[in-house]
Amino acid sequence: MGGLQKKKFERGAATNYITRNSARKKLQLSLPDFRRLCILKGVYPHEPKHKKKVNKGSTAPRTFYLLKDIRFLLHEPVVHKFREYKIFVRKLKRAYGKTEWSAVERLKENKPTYKLDHIVKERYPTFIDALRDIDDALCMCFLFSTFARTGKCHVQTIQLCRRLTVEWMNYVITSRALRKVFLSIKGIYYQAEVMGQLITWLVPYQFSHDHPTDVDYRVMATFTELYTTLLGFINFKLYHSLNLVYPPKMDIKAESELKEEFEEDYAMNSESYTEKLSALSGSLARVVSTEEEEEAKLDQFPAEGEDVEKMEAREKEQKQLEAQKKLFDGLKIFLNREVPRESLAFIIRCFGGQVSWDKSVSIGSTFDVTDETITHQIVDRPNFDKQYINRYYVQPQWVYDCVNAKILLPVEDYFLGVTLPPHLSPFVEEKEGDYVPPEKLRIMALQRGEKPAQEQEEEDDEEEEEDEEEEEGGDDEVDEEEKAEEKNLKKMEEQKSQGKSLQVKVTPGKVRAENPARLEQEEKAEEKRLAIMMMKKKEKYLYDKIMFGKKRKVREANKLAAKRKAHDDAEKTKKKKARK
């Protein structure tokens, strides 16, 4: 038994990991620089499976990185820039200390900068990769663009973020990609479908900032640095996919529509164009000036069996989507000054509506309050003095709910001063057997095109219950008929046995009305029953379990519904009492 004794921690897991500090030393960077580099390159700490093996026998919690990742970082050209920057800072400090202002000036002119283009390309080799990871970028840019320009971070960064978000919103408007909106207590969630990818982002309400102290601004700024680069390139590509001019330009027609009376009050000449763009009220210029191309129709493929159903479903979905995209087409909506202008303008324009506001609110308004062709006015105050007859005065929630319901909801529930129906989250998707709140049921009924009366609601509930009963009772009815016949036969037999001569009579046979739909249903039910019977024991067990789970869900949903009913009743009685 010869050979050298194997030393500990020189093979296996211990060699795959490196602690943060040694990685930092290997790269010759300070901790903030190292952290920045890791964020930019997408190198994240890793928790080893066996801490003790990696940490030389100690179980103390430390931050580990994979050694391969750090080796990869060694080749990054940005590292040199970091070092250059360090030296630049040192020189600058020295010049300041010696009050050599000319040297300060010269140094500042030659401040080392770096680009992240190659990192973006390296992390996202294809466009779709980048698009999948855009959620974070959007959230961060929208967040930073709302920051006050007071020095929490660079003013330039804030400006860049604002520019990129405006570009993004303009793209979403032009491509009509928005799908869902949700007003939460945190902020506004939007969901858009861009090139087949669902993209969700969160936008803060305006002026809602208190700067929390337990957030590392440097880290957030680093993320934003990367994300602004990423978002810019994505915007470029997206604009070109729609044949739009990239640094976005307003359509000539749209530009001429904008009123230019009080422009100087809002922005300096240099900024007025970007401000107008960010008003979101004008459409964008295209490279090839083709007006609204015809939407390509879905190709029809001959299909059989189940595929037909799928195709139909898909077609239906497509139709619905088309309808949703044109939701506000032809509507002229005026925003009062107390409503969140940007969010509403964005949404209304996303679905093809025309929108304007008072010219003293913001730049870029297209028509006045006095315009007779206005169809809706968004108002968020208890009462309103001067009202026009030919327009609806609705609360802002109407717009959001319409978008989520994919139809124009009846305006009566959203009139001025009316207690609003709850704003439901469009991000919840109920499965079969889950509890569905009655408001949603009502919207679903409206979507199906049923009558939009309020009384319908209760009827709906009742109907549904009846439906359930019917389903159960369907079989019973058939049985009853059979039973009646049997009874008849029995009677006859009894009479026969008693020796009485039977009254032989030929009664005309009834024509049984055969309901083909019912027959089919029965057949299906029978098939199912047989299939269940044919199951193996194991499968049967599983099946029973699943069914039990479903039933339990239904039970829970019923319970919730009952609770809700009780709550509603209580509310009603309260109201009645209040009225009295």
Binding site: R123, T126, C139, H423, L424, H567
Partner: protein, 460 residues
Amino acid sequence: MASSRRLRRMAASQPGFLTLKPSSDPTDLVGGRRKRVNKNKKKNWNKFSDITDVEEFLEDVRHQERTTGGLLSEKSDDGLFFVDLGQADKAEQKAEPDEGKKRKGKSTRPLRIDLILQGDSCIPPPKDVLAYQKPNAKKLRRIAQKAEQLAAKGVVPRAQKKLLNRRLADRTVKKAVTEANNNPNRDYYDMWAQESKSPADPWYVLQTGKEQVKRPEKLNQKPSALPAVEVIAPGGSYNPDFLSHQALLQEAHEVEVKKKKQEDKLEKQLAVNREDKATAETALREEVEGLIEDEEDEETSPNKEDEEASGAAITVTEKKTERQRKKEKAEKRKEQQQLSVKRQTVQQQQLFQLRSIKAAIKQQEQQTKKRWSKRKEKQEAQKAQPRRLGKLKFQAPDLEVQLRDELAGSLRQLKPEGSILKDRFKSLQKRNLIEPRERAKFRRKLKVKYVEKRAFKEIT
């Protein structure tokens, strides 16, 4: 010496030579004693031959040439003299400037400084010889011819090549100076236009001046399965549905209860035990500790020790006899035999138990399978969990909740809850992109020293 004197005499005696300097007197030439020196040495020629008179003469010639442009003796009389006609000329000159002195005088007369700087030598400048003949002209011509020939062939000389190369390098350096990354007016371009995955991607080289290193595969995996943006529960709507709002409140309540429980537990552990508290009795006992002798105790305790000691002494083991040993051995053997027999029978019996054994094995297998699947499930669930990446554990942020009476009736009155910045930050931590950290505490490097100042002292 004699020759020089002769030369001088010769110059002076030249017909028509005029000297400018009056000092050069012919009588001065003969005077002083001659010094005798050896003349067979060249050194002495230089040292002792007097050439001042020749030099003076030559100097005088040069002076005349410089000032008058030639030897005075060769000039005509008209060039040297003029007829003095009195002062009429001057009076005229003075009378004239009265009118146009200020204008004309300044414009016509050159500045004095120019006059001073003007060369006053009358000798024309010497001709540039190099303008007529070039040194090494032949050689240069030959070189030029050769270069022409090479150029015709298309061969670039080495020096020029070097220069060209250097210019290329300069260009790349200039490109590296870029605008700031957060410049709000920066340009973007189509990055994903051409798909090329070779490491020597020209685009990458242009951007960085370096070749690309292959990115480790593992870096493309996301560290967590969680989505980037987690949408708040439906109860978090600004105008929520009753039941979903209740559900959210319930959730928040449970979190709070959990926290409270932990706090309570900690408090319980830290609480002072009631029995440990000092009462009057225990205090008194403590005070008189050792003062009162417990006689009874002292008496009883030695006795006990004695008894124990005696007990230990009694139980001394006796030696076994031979017989006893034999008996024990036999018993041991017998026991072993019995055991082996039993084992055999059990083995034989197992043949009949085959079915039950099979069942047992099957059960065991099933159990392992179940455990395996459970473990897999757990691992899947772990993927969505925040990992331990540093000293601190991830702490989930507080749920954003508004109570029933805090909810605003309309969008206008809505008070946003929580901070999105914090939400994003926590989300990054939750997805294992950054490790949870605490803000570094301020630590004073230098010690603070308090000194009483005189002024302060006087007041107090």
